[in-house]
Symmetry: C2
Subunit: 435 residues, 2 copies
Amino acid sequence: MAPLRSWLDINSRSHFSLHNIPFGIISTAANPEPHAAVAIGDQALDLRVFTQQNGFAALSIIQPHQAVFSQPTLNAFAALGRPMHRVIREYLQSILLAGGPFPDILEHNQTLRKTALIRLQDCKMHLPMQIGDYTDFYAGLHHAYNVGTLFRGPQNALQPNYKHLPVGYHGRASSVVVSGTPIRRPNGQILLDPTAEPKQPVLDASRKLDIELELGCFVCKPSALGEPVRIHDAPEHLFGVVLMNDWSARDIQAWEYVPLGPFNSKNFGTSISPWVVLMDALEPFASTGMRNDAQTLPYLDEKDRNSHYPIDLSVSLTTASGNTSTLARTSAKNLLFSFPQMLAHHSIGGCPFNVGDLLGSGTISGESKAEKGCLLEQTENGKVDIELEGGEKRRFLEDGDTVTMTGVCGGEEGAFVGFGECSGRIEPAIELDFA
Amino acid sequence: MAPLRSWLDINSRSHFSLHNIPFGIISTAANPEPHAAVAIGDQALDLRVFTQQNGFAALSIIQPHQAVFSQPTLNAFAALGRPMHRVIREYLQSILLAGGPFPDILEHNQTLRKTALIRLQDCKMHLPMQIGDYTDFYAGLHHAYNVGTLFRGPQNALQPNYKHLPVGYHGRASSVVVSGTPIRRPNGQILLDPTAEPKQPVLDASRKLDIELELGCFVCKPSALGEPVRIHDAPEHLFGVVLMNDWSARDIQAWEYVPLGPFNSKNFGTSISPWVVLMDALEPFASTGMRNDAQTLPYLDEKDRNSHYPIDLSVSLTTASGNTSTLARTSAKNLLFSFPQMLAHHSIGGCPFNVGDLLGSGTISGESKAEKGCLLEQTENGKVDIELEGGEKRRFLEDGDTVTMTGVCGGEEGAFVGFGECSGRIEPAIELDFA
Ligand SMILES: [Ca+2]
Ligand SMILES: [Ca+2]
Ligand SMILES: [Mg+2]
Ligand SMILES: [Mg+2]
Ligand code: NI
């Protein structure tokens, strides 16, 4: 299929080609209240303005629902359901298509073009969804193996349950922030000498501040307490995907996590990219996942459905002195479980879901060092240096470091379906003054 | 202090004495939209009706905020802050006090009495707060010791971190339900024979369905990302306390919980009592906690402040055949950490809080068998029978069992500050039909 071409000037390497049409929440000088938009090339199409100026004139089905685009989150839009997402996304594609069926709506409407098309650099981005609950999984097989090997050796790297279920934990919804939000280095309890007895922790700024390269997936359909989402229904419950950096403090984690799992080591901030790439935009890339050699139970069996997306991911670090180095490149195909499997498992006991709930994939790593999605793996828990551009080195993050993740699907120029960026800069820890 | 006496007829053993004035969300035949009320004796004072009929005429400070009582949750009321809670609670006490200063507001106002005072049995109770995030701690020292002993023996019962920090995990906010909501037995992955190799789980209804006797505490003051709540400020962030039953599926938990903690074993339902007992109502009972023999860090030091409440707790089980047996009686004084300590720890790394966030205490057990707050402890993980009234026995919960928790502070008749009940009945698991 040749790439769809727009009458708008879109760079052929843009993540936001006409094939994408991701949704986000913007505010602008003219419209300072957060509201909905889609990204196209290096511009946003402001859906509030578009709606107010009758941009959906040729799509009567949306008329009763137009208020969703004036909301400060995408929850109401998401709640319309996947059939409506499809119709609306395809309509917006048709509006932007060169030689499309509705040139009078936008292409030939200079007033609307001037007010509704806004350069991305002039948009302030907001958290796209109100997140009721956030769950982080651990479905990156190589990551789980590498981390398990570090702590338990290669023989016991993977726990016995690992291939039978998508291991996950409840995260902290309040700490999910949009890309660009500064991340303060957390203070917390750290056991500096694990061999000393008695074990006496100190309160200090984390010295092992790390990243986790992940994908996040939003839920768009509620499910009730006691009512599992069946695996064949799960795709209709999924809204779209974002990049996610699950910042992690490894020293805090090591001391706190027994026996109930990670807590303060995770809840000081989780960054997501601002543009939600709809499941429909990813659908053309759907492929099979990794082979799971365990005998998984039927409730996780997707049959012939392809629910994995070979998203090319990369993460880079820019130091305070301005040097940028690529830390890792890998692919989302390194996930052992898909989002439908995560949702089917999460709800099998009756856990209810709300529109806007977020599922994190777990850290995505490949097998080689250059494909490892966190510093814990890359530096073997701080034992090996990472050599950066300009001669700098890192074991964990330093204050002033900016971490940027990107992700994109599709190899064809003009037809990329990408995620833009998810970035965050580390600020120094708060100075604590306990007498 | 002699008990305060009301012109209303209040049973001297009522949990809802004039000393209490707990807040909840009700709906009634006349006002089917959920809205605020306080409980007094065996009645609710409907605050929406009370407000609409100018019941706050003698408290001008509340005038601009009266709409909070027509909201479907207490979040807006909670967000007014503790000084306002104090003023409003004391005003309502003065309205209900025999020989009080404002007899014309309610006592002598037959119209308002008829419409605003509603028998509790005619009120439908709703979840009192919209819960953004829910965290469950593990601060019951004897519970942690007993469970640790079961799985690791008495020498290693408590993990090295246990006395240094309130261990906790993020729970599932969407699964918190109000007392009376039926709880479906969860299906989930269970490893029936942990000794067999390879380890192959089955999907089945939990056979080890358990309770956890806990308190929950709501947050009423937001805190920003990166901004810890200092221990001396923490009490102003706490709204009130409820009873909590953290239903738990021990067989699902045993298989899933490594390495990231409990997940589906907990997220199928957590019940809370409907009436939020304000911190001010508990304040007269404030006392010191257990002695912590660890050298805890200064950020957890409450100095001379008393933040523990010797709430007498009990839990009973009523079988499908109607026999009711007391399972345990214990006291909330068995918590090693207080709610202010939990909040100070939870936020020390910068985790943000929203109004309505819920902190669970962890299971509360005393030292003797009759004081154990979960069946896992009482039956030594299903090895010992519990003898019930009528000759029935239990190791874990059966379908049709109703578990009821109660809690009350104060020994003086006519001055009880109690929580009413938190109950839930077990419904059979969904039949799963995977081909
Ligand atoms: Ca993670
Ligand atoms: Ca618990
Ligand atoms: Mg995080
Ligand atoms: Mg629970
Ligand atoms: Ni939540």
